[in-house]
């Protein structure tokens, strides 16, 4: 009897702890100040997804489940490739990873922040500070110079004009675009645009870089240059990079390859690394 009482007591404590965690609002300060190990158990795990399900409700009878319970863990400093045929759920998974969309069910912790219960405003802050997007179509803001494009995420993070400008110049130098920083997107080639986009993705020193087919619109030579930049970021700066691609060659350069099919990971293998291809 005594033991039973204890169990109930413990149970209650756990319940209230859970509740408290759920009710907690995540602010920008929390995200930037809280040491990840205080929230998450393992300091080295950046992305922790458990049984992620994503359903779209296109009217009740047409319910469409795209992700059927995806488990994924990405460690700090990994260069992970996600491959899959079109329609396999790659884009949906990317949207969930990139905090552009919420999973319908499951647990998702990004750099120690519970994403499932985050509000819209929190998601904005997470995208701003924790995620660097690189898109297939570059998505640079038109009529805005390369420099201003790189400054954008820092603008939304609330950095001062001078800091923004200094950091943006450094980042553009890093991708070899310093000479073109005052050019507008329509004055740049595809490869140059993608380099600016990578510099922009790096702006707030994010926990992960999420690259969605970054070489998809480029010729093989330029694509190679872009991949080299990712490798450099990975090797020299220890960046965590998630590359979404349908090219097995590019995927094989990464440290780990996850294959998605019909909304589930069907295969996981080690990549051969960059040198294998070179």
């Amino acid at each position: 009897m005594n033991r039973g009482y204890c169990q109930i007591g413990l149970h209650n404590i756990f319940q209230s702890m859970k509740r408290k965690k759920k009710n907690q609002e995540i602010t920008i300060e929390d995200i930037s100040n809280t040491a990840p190990d205080l929230v998450s158990g393992d300091d080295n795990i950046v992305i922790d997804m458990k049984h992620i399900i994503k359903r779209y409700f296109i009217g009740q009878p047409n319910e469409l489940e795209v992700l059927h319970g995806v488990d994924m863990q990405v460690r700090r400093g990994e260069f992970v490739a996600i491959v899959g045929q079109s329609g396999s759920g790659k884009s949906t998974l990317m949207n969930v990873i990139g905090a552009l969309d919420r999973p319908t069910e499951g647990e998702y912790t990004l750099d120690g922040v519970d994403m499932f219960n985050a509000k819209d405003k929190d998601l904005s802050a997470i995208r701003c500070k924790k995620i660097g997007f690189v898109f297939q179509t570059y998505n640079l803001v038109a009529r805005t110079s390369a420099l201003k494009n790189v400054e954008l995420p820092m603008l939304y993070a609330g950095l001062s004009g001078r800091t923004r400008s200094r950091k943006a110049k450094e980042l553009l130098e890093m991708v070899d675009m310093a000479e073109r920083m005052h050019h507008q997107p329509d004055e740049l080639s595809g490869g140059q645009k993608q380099r600016v986009a990578i510099a922009r993705a790096m702006a707030n020193d994010p926990a992960i870089i999420l690259a969605d087919e970054p070489t998809g619109a480029l010729d093989s030579h330029t694509g190679r240059l872009i991949m080299d930049i990712f490798h450099r970021l990975h090797e020299e700066q220890g960046k965590t990079i998630i590359l979404i691609t349908h090219s097995p060659e590019l995927a094989s350069e990464c440290s780990r390859i996850l294959t998605l099919k019909d909304g589930l990971f069907i295969d996981e293998k080690k990549g051969s690394g960059r040198n294998a291809v070179l």
Binding site: N95, G98, L100, D101, D120, K121, S124, A125, R127, C128, K129, F133, F135, N139, L140, V141, A142, R143, T144, L152, P153, L155, Y156, A157, G158, R200, N204
Partner: protein, 428 residues
């Protein structure tokens, strides 16, 4: 935080589509421009009328003999007929007599500062060699100059003694001096002028004692040289010559602090006791203050009416702004998606587009103000008045155009803010 950046972004997107921005702003420009122009012209008109009136003396109360309004007559069946007026000319009996005036002065010693009476002797053409001048000879009281704000140019005013004794002295206008003495007043003063009245029946001689500054009354169509200017003589002298038994109207200059409207009413009541038994004529009074007020009110009503029309055009302009903002937002859907992916909150997207609408309207408003000021100045000049734009109308225009920007920018901006980033990024 983002204020300055938003402002820069707004201006740059405005400049990207110059033609489109200009066309969009046109509604605002026309709306604001017409309001400012109307207010400027209306204000010029009001100012000029007010100053003209107060030159004439806003404190003056004019008392005049007036034909009675016919009273309706009722026949046996109770039917009303418009009353008949036994129209007849004013006779000596109907005029305001000297005794009435004396009693009036005695009744209101505090309120009356001066009294202006004129008695016209007639018009004449004064000739000397090849020079000539058209004159109207008017006998006046000392109050006349006060009531009409007439300024002396040289020489003396008519002296108290001249008034008391009704001497044959006169004041002539600078215009008269120009015509007759080549503008040299010293040649004129002390000179006798011989005046043969039109019709040739009478012949008078007056000694010039002073020259006053003639101010033309409104539009004068006659050639400058032929303008008829008054020659002022003491009223007693005029009465000696024209044997006037009374005056059709007199003007009272009220003392400072007297409510001229109220005073006009009291004077009317006082004077009407002399006209109780007069079937045809009665006394009417009016103060210039009343007239100025009614003129200003009328102008104000007209301005308000036109301003309402202009406000409607502003609303139409605002709808144009909203329309173009919606177009701009759908064009820039991917940009919105990108910004959201980079960490823009709904609020910052909303602010960005509202700012853009405000800048669009504000630039339109400023252009409209400039256009309105130019148009108002041109309009006022064409009417012969001095343009006087009001700061309040300019500030109101600026605020109003900003309000239009916020009001019509909110819906599109909110639409942009609420876009789903995934859909926005995928938008083709």
């Amino acid at each position: 935080m983002l204020f300055f950046e938003n402002l820069l972004m707004a201006f740059s997107s405005l400049l990207t589509n110059k033609m489109r921005s200009l066309l969009t702003m046109l509604g605002i420009i026309i709306g604001i421009g017409s309001v400012i122009a109307i207010v400027t012209v209306g204000n010029a008109l009001t100012n000029s009328i007010t100053s003209e009136m107060s030159d004439m003396g806003a404190n003056n109360v004019v008392i005049g003999v007036q034909q009675r309004e016919a009273e309706d007559e009722v026949d046996e069946s109770g039917k009303r007929y418009g009353g008949r007026i036994n129209a007849r000319d004013m006779t000596d009996n109907d005029l305001i007599k000297k005794e009435y005036i004396e009693e009036l002065l005695a009744a209101f010693p505090e309120e009356i500062k001066g009294i202006s009476i004129e008695s016209v002797l007639g018009t004449a053409k004064v000739e000397k060699g090849r020079n000539y001048a058209n004159v109207r000879i008017i006998g006046v009281t000392p109050g006349y100059f006060m009531a009409n704000n007439t300024k002396m140019q040289s020489g003396n005013e008519l002296s108290d003694k001249a008034y008391m004794e009704g001497k044959s002295v006169c004041l002539v206008s600078d215009h008269f001096v120009n015509n007759m003495y080549d503008g040299d007043s010293s040649k004129a003063i002390g000179r006798d002028i011989e005046i043969e009245m039109s019709g040739g029946r009478k012949y008078f001689v007056f000694t010039i004692v002073g020259v006053y500054k003639y101010e033309s009354q409104g539009f004068d169509m006659t050639a400058t040289k032929d303008v008829t200017t008054p020659v002022y003589i003491p009223i007693k002298n005029a009465i000696k010559k024209n044997h006037a038994k009374g005056f059709p109207s007199i003007t009272i200059i009220t003392a400072k602090g007297v409510d001229s409207d109220d005073f006009a009413f009291r004077v009317k009541n006082f004077m009407n006791r002399y006209y109780h038994n007069n079937r045809q004529f009665t006394i009417s009074t009016f103060s210039l203050a009343q007239m100025v007020e009614s003129m200003t009110t009328m102008l104000g009503t007209v301005s308000t009416a036109i301003s309402i029309v202009a406000a409607i055009s502003l609303v139409v302009g605002g709808i144009g702004v909203m329309n173009i903002m919606l177009v701009s937002i759908s064009e820039r859907t991917r940009e919105i998606g990108t910004r959201k992916a980079l960490g823009a909150t709904n609020g910052s997207i909303r602010t960005q587009f509202i700012m853009e609408a405000i800048v669009l309207c504000l630039v339109g408003g400023i252009l409209g103000i400039l256009l309105g000021l130019a148009g108002g100045a041109a309009g006022a000049k064409a009417l012969g008045y001095e343009a006087s734009p009001t700061a309040s109308s300019i500030i109101a225009a600026l605020i109003f155009s900003m309000v239009v920007g916020v009001f019509f920018g909110y819906y599109p901006a909110n639409k942009a803010a609420k876009m789903n980033p995934i859909d926005a990024l995928r938008y083709e």
